[in-house]
């Protein structure tokens, strides 16, 4: 037996002032000494009770102590036998530990409200405690933990290894295998001194006895002594369903995989979730967890317990006024006119009439419902754009399920992260898509588009084909109509900066988006659309207009030739063309291959829309000229809000010069406001619509995303101005109310004399004959940066720009650049192949200007 002691005073991040030794009885009634972190301000809001798991100790919560102890009392005990608490020879079961935590909190005389924070096996202990102290508990934060072993789950490998016959003591106590194995789960690797601090109380085998005891106490078997206690804790959660709860998760956890998160989400349906993509079991080391807990605690203190939404609460519309996403399709259910055309090399490869499409969608949706796809189930659609995707998408909507649509542009690892994180319950895909889904381990019903040979079908685990489902559904009643408030889609951001974020839309929001697109571009029943831009390829049926997908790889816009475009236009006598800038570039480049008849077809187009990335007015004019000089627009928006604003080519040509890219007036129904930047480049200012104030662009409208998926803290930040969405873009409004985009928040340059936004100066530099492309970036720490120009200047050598070039750049931009560098090519982001990756440019410039990196980038 060893009594409790205070931790060494030199552990990184741990203030010795926080620690004390407290005496409280153990489960047997014997007084024991505990090491407890206990620190409080003069008048705390309440108590944060942090309960660690195995084999860690209270040290794991040091960031939360530092973050919250300015206005909360923060208590983090080491369990008996753990950390620096007293060592005893007794076995402590889960029930004992729940009792002991209660004795300790009595001895500490804690008062409510209590915010419980727990990790790993601290979860069951603290929840057991919470169930007994409901009158005190105001909120719960759970980090990678579990209260039950789901039936479909295998025993976590690490635990299994530790429990394997006779090895328990060797793995957990005699050696440091289990301890070190757990510390190695950090991403990135823990700094050595931090890992050593975790190890500090566990230097000898004798001090590790309770690590072994904890592992032995995991009730994997149904007759395990702690099984009944754990089951009681799990069932007791029913009583905590009113308690605000935040689930914080590191998905790269070999112990507590996502399925344990799902289990907790089912048991605590009120819980908010934040998954830190890329983080693992030691999520508190891997990700800014303390900042998230701070927000959650602030909300508790302020009585804000619901997730901040990007909208005021949605009101269910009456059925008379509501137009569902498939209303137009059903309205034309008897129409034998063409609805969707998929173009092949020589002409229409596939033509679907309104009547066919409506019947397929109806039957398929009934079939989906029949085979167990429930309302609000998430369904991954791994089908390339075209007639099949259109049918599957509308059928999924019609069945009340939620399509999860991830762009192949995310790459396989990105796709895997996105789909696994989105809690997909079913998969509909072509062979390649299903194969990928199987490789990712996506669960649920697998439905194939197209039939396969029996062998392949078995190999891919196909449960049904779409044709089979439509046959099943033909005899069945139509699925019930989802409410406007039901989730309608999960889309993903580009992932250009960090992992792609899931974006959740509800039906009301997609219906509003359809109406805003229709009204912004004056789309009427007589219009027909060539959709060479993936998202818009799906909008035809919702708008009630025919659409054609040209012969191209829709995921690679640059593959669209002018002839393929002309053929698609001819196939439906199109009046509208929606395309990405890369497609327009190729159309212009290949325009001379058009024959007179094709040219004549093209000239009947009334409107060209360029979307997906910025486009130069010269390119837009050239593309418009290929289409007979038609009206051309380029809307501004993002995955979370599209469109926000719209500008015509004519407007761009008349008044498109200023500080940034002119993106036009907010579209009807959409409000734009600016949150001004402070000196550190943070958008902290109150929303304003005053002209010529630069700041974060904030958007309000009925078609804005509902929320980010399982990213509570991100959602809270993006929606912190109630009912508004923060875009992360920087810009300003001009005196005419037009919006100008000046770059991304992350690209704002913060100098000692103020902030600089990059886009305006870059445009001024690019007007110089010598400069093809320019990036304006900051070098140095935030608030102390200097401004550097990095340019593609083909007639100059790579490296430090000549004095003449520097002079002309400073003059043109009106900025006293500390340096200018010439490069052969600037890095552009992978997905759009047009947006300059300024963060990478900044890193390169910093390296060169440090003197160490040589003169070439």
């Amino acid at each position: 037996m060893t009594s409790a002691s205070l931790p060494p005073t030199d552990l990184p991040g741990l203030d010795p002032q926080w620690s004390r030794i407290v005496s409280a009885p153990d489960a047997e009634g014997v007084q024991r000494e505990w090491h407890v972190i206990d620190t409080a301000p003069a008048e705390p809001i309440g108590t944060v009770l942090c309960v660690h798991g195995n084999p860690t100790w209270s040290y794991t919560f040091r960031s939360i102590v530092a973050e919250l102890s300015d206005n909360w009392r923060v208590i983090a005990p080491d369990h008996l036998g753990m950390g620096f608490s007293e060592r005893t020879d007794e076995v402590h079961t889960l029930a004992d530990r729940i009792d002991e935590l209660g004795s300790l909190t009595d001895a500490l005389d804690i008062s409510g409200p209590v915010l419980v924070v727990a990790h790993d096996w601290g979860g069951p202990i603290s929840l057991g405690w919470a169930e007994r102290h409901r009158q005190l508990v105001a909120g719960i934060v759970l980090l990678n933990t579990a209260v039950s072993q789901p039936d479909d789950a295998n025993v976590p490998a690490l635990i299994g290894a530790a429990r394997a016959g006779g090895l328990l003591r060797t793995v957990t106590q005699r050696t440091r295998a289990f301890l070190d194995g757990t510390l190695r789960l950090a991403h990135p690797t823990l700094p050595r001194e931090v890992a050593d601090a975790y190890r500090a109380p566990y230097r000898s085998a004798a001090r590790r006895q309770s690590i072994a005891g904890f592992v032995a106490d995991i009730p994997l078997e149904s007759d395990h002594p702690s099984r009944a206690t754990l089951d009681a804790v799990a069932e007791g959660l029913l009583a905590l369903r009113e308690t605000p709860t935040l689930l914080v998760w590191g998905p790269r956890d070999p112990v507590f995989a996502d399925r344990y998160l799902r289990d907790l989400q089912r048991r605590l349906p009120q819980a908010q979730t934040h998954r830190f993509e890329g983080a693992g079991h030691l999520v508190i080391e891997d990700a800014p967890v303390a900042a998230a807990v701070r927000r959650f605690a602030d909300d508790l203190a302020a009585g804000r317990t619901r997730e901040l939404r990007s909208h005021p609460p949605l009101l269910p519309a009456t059925s008379a006024e509501r137009r569902t996403l498939w209303s137009a399709l059903e309205g034309r259910a008897g129409d034998n006119a063409v609805a969707v055309v998929e173009m092949g090399r020589r002409g229409p490869a596939r033509t679907i009439t309104w009547k066919q499409l409506a019947a397929t969608v109806r039957d398929l949706s009934a079939g989906l419902t029949a085979v167990g796809v429930r309302p609000e189930d998430r369904v991954a659609l791994l089908v390339p754009p075209g007639a099949d995707l259109t049918a599957v998408l509308y059928a999924t909507w019609r069945a009340g399920a939620v399509p999860v649509i991830a762009d192949a542009g995310l790459g396989l690892p990105g796709l895997r992260r996105a789909l696994r994180g989105a809690n997909v319950q079913h998969v509909i895909g072509v062979a390649r898509g299903l194969s990928a889904a199987k490789g990712m381990g996506l669960p649920g019903t697998y439905i194939s588009v197209g039939g396969f040979a029996p062998g392949l079908r078995r190999a891919l685990g196909v449960d049904y084909t779409v044709v089979e489902l439509a046959q099943i559904g033909r005899q069945l009643p139509t699925s019930s109509t989802p409410l406007v408030t039901a989730e309608a889609a999960v889309l993903f951001t580009s992932g250009a900066t960090g992992p792609a974020k899931g974006v959740v839309y509800r039906h009301a929001q997609l219906e509003a988006q359809r109406d805003i697109v229709r009204d912004t571009f004056g789309i009427g029943p007589g219009d027909r659309l060539v959709a060479a831009f993936a998202p818009f390829a799906l909008f035809g049926p919702a708008l009630g207009i025919a659409s054609a997908v040209p012969d191209m790889d829709v995921t690679k816009p640059g593959t669209l030739t002018s002839r393929a475009l002309a053929n698609a236009i001819a196939a439906i006598d199109a009046s509208l063309v929606f395309a990405a800038p890369a497609a327009l570039r190729n159309i212009v480049r290949t325009a001379s291959t058009l024959d007179p008849a094709q040219r004549a077809r093209c000239e009947r187009v009334r409107l060209l829309l360029s979307a997906g990335a910025p486009v130069s007015r010269e390119m837009l004019r050239a593309a418009s000229n290929v289409l007979g000089g038609c009206e051309a627009h380029t809307p501004y928006g993002m995955t979370e809000a599209l469109p926000v604003a719209d500008v015509t080519l004519d407007e761009l040509e008349v008044g498109g010069r200023g500080n940034g890219v002119l993106v036009g007036h907010p579209v009807t129904g959409v409000q734009v406001a600016i949150s001004p930047l402070d000196a550190s480049g943070a958008a902290t200012g109150p929303l304003t619509d005053s002209p010529d104030v630069s700041g974060e662009i904030c958007v309000r409208g009925p078609h804005i995303k509902d929320h980010y998926d399982q990213l509570w803290a991100t959602q809270r930040d993006s929606a912190r101005d109630h009912g508004w969405h923060r875009t992360g873009d920087i810009g300003h409004l001009d005196v005419d109310g037009r919006l100008w985009v000046e770059g991304r928040i992350a690209h704002v340059i913060t100098t000692p004399v103020g902030v600089v936004t990059p886009v305006g100066p870059e445009q001024r530099l690019e007007r110089l004959d010598a400069v093809h492309l320019a990036a304006v970036v900051g070098v140095g720490p935030p608030g102390r940066q200097v401004v550097v120009a990095v340019v593609e200047a083909p007639l100059q050598d790579e490296g430090v720009a000549s004095v003449e070039l520097v002079d002309s750049l400073r003059l043109a931009a009106g900025i006293d650049f500390a340096a200018a560098l010439v490069v052969d090519s600037l890095p552009v982001d992978v997905r759009h192949n047009s947006k300059i990756d300024r963060l990478e440019v900044s890193a390169l410039a910093a390296k060169v200007l440090s003197g160490g990196g040589g003169a070439s980038l």
Binding site: R784, V786, G799, V800, L849, S850, G851, G852, G854
Partner: protein
């Protein structure tokens, strides 16, 4: 106010004395040599404690610039001037009850070879500083700041790469090398560095003297707050002087190697003066060192009056006058 300026014949020392004199202060300078100047000049070696003591008699404040500045030379020489000389000043200040001291230091006292990016005035560290000059200056700065108490207000000011018309130290050497075609860039001259135009450095020292009671015990780096690449600085200096611009570049590793060889050869052959390339110089010309000036400007209540661009114009005019 009666002010003693040590090292009064240096470019910066003379400029400080001129400014103090212009505004009506009673200026005394002390130095080994003599120059034409309208204020009282005392000849004396800073290593001579008695001379320093008698120079401080009756003054209200001291601006201490006298130092051994070089990239080569024997340790004893640096130590006796930079450390011993400063100790003499401190002793004299104590002996005569003088309450204000501005000690002119150098950013090199806190530069340990790594790039300095938006740096502030980190503590001087004689152990880690590179070269005899930086080490002895670090020791001197520590002596001064440690001496601060109720009866003595002292501040260390570290002007970075001071240049201006008449400069023979930095500019003279660059121009001389450019003239003989020996001026090369290291790593393309891409390192970003801060410099200080002479007048601004002098203004900052006067400002420090005026504010010393409020900022006592602190160290400040002083620069123009306009970092530039080495390539741009050298090119503009050569243009102002009307000499050939540097066009050749060598990698840092080569420059350092050459520097080491030259240093050894130089001392082995017992040659006088400065060798053309030293490791210290190679490091200075290939490593970023620029500074965050917000604290300096706020505490000294000073901002540079002359921009780099104006400075280069004045420099060009000065070179032109000399030629004429």
């Amino acid at each position: 106010m009666r002010v003693l300026v040590t090292g009064g014949t240096s470019l910066l020392g003379a400029a400080v004395a001129q400014r103090l004199s212009d505004r009506g202060d009673d200026v005394v300078t002390m130095q080994r040599g003599e120059a034409a100047a309208p204020w009282m000049q005392l000849r004396g070696d800073i290593r001579d404690a008695a001379a320093v003591s008698s120079a401080t008699e009756g003054v209200d404040a001291v601006v201490h610039l006298a130092a051994r500045v070089s990239v080569v030379g024997e340790w004893d020489e640096f130590e006796s001037v930079n450390v011993g000389g400063t100790q003499n000043v401190l002793d004299a200040v104590r002996a005569h009850g003088i309450s204000r001291l501005v000690h002119v230091s150098s950013p090199s006292v806190a530069h340990f070879g790594e790039p300095l990016v938006a740096a502030d005035a980190d503590p001087a560290d004689a152990e880690r500083a590179h070269g005899h000059y930086a080490r002895t200056k670090a020791m001197a700065e520590k002596l001064v700041l440690d001496a601060v108490d109720d009866s003595l207000s002292a501040v260390a000011v570290r002007p970075h790469l001071v240049w201006g018309p008449g400069d023979t130290q930095l500019l003279g050497r660059i121009v001389e090398r450019a003239t003989s075609g020996r001026l090369v860039l290291i790593n393309g001259g891409s390192a970003l560095i801060d410099t200080t135009y002479l007048d601004n450095a002098a203004d900052a020292l006067v400002a420090a003297l005026d504010r010393v009671d409020d900022i006592s015990g602190e160290a400040f780096v002083v620069t123009n707050g306009e970092p530039r690449t080495v390539a741009e600085l050298l090119t503009r200096i050569c243009r102002a002087a009307g000499v050939p611009e540097p066009t050749r570049s060598v990698p840092r590793s080569v420059a350092s190697g050459v520097g080491a060889v030259v240093e050894r050869a130089w001392s082995a052959t017992g040659r006088e003066g400065e060798p053309p390339m030293t490791r210290f110089l190679a490091e200075q010309l290939s490593t970023a060192h620029w500074f965050d000036q917000r604290r300096t400007q706020e505490c000294l209540q000073w901002t540079p009056a002359v921009s780099l661009a104006q400075g280069f114009e004045r420099l060009a005019a000065a070179y032109k006058r000399r030629k004429v």
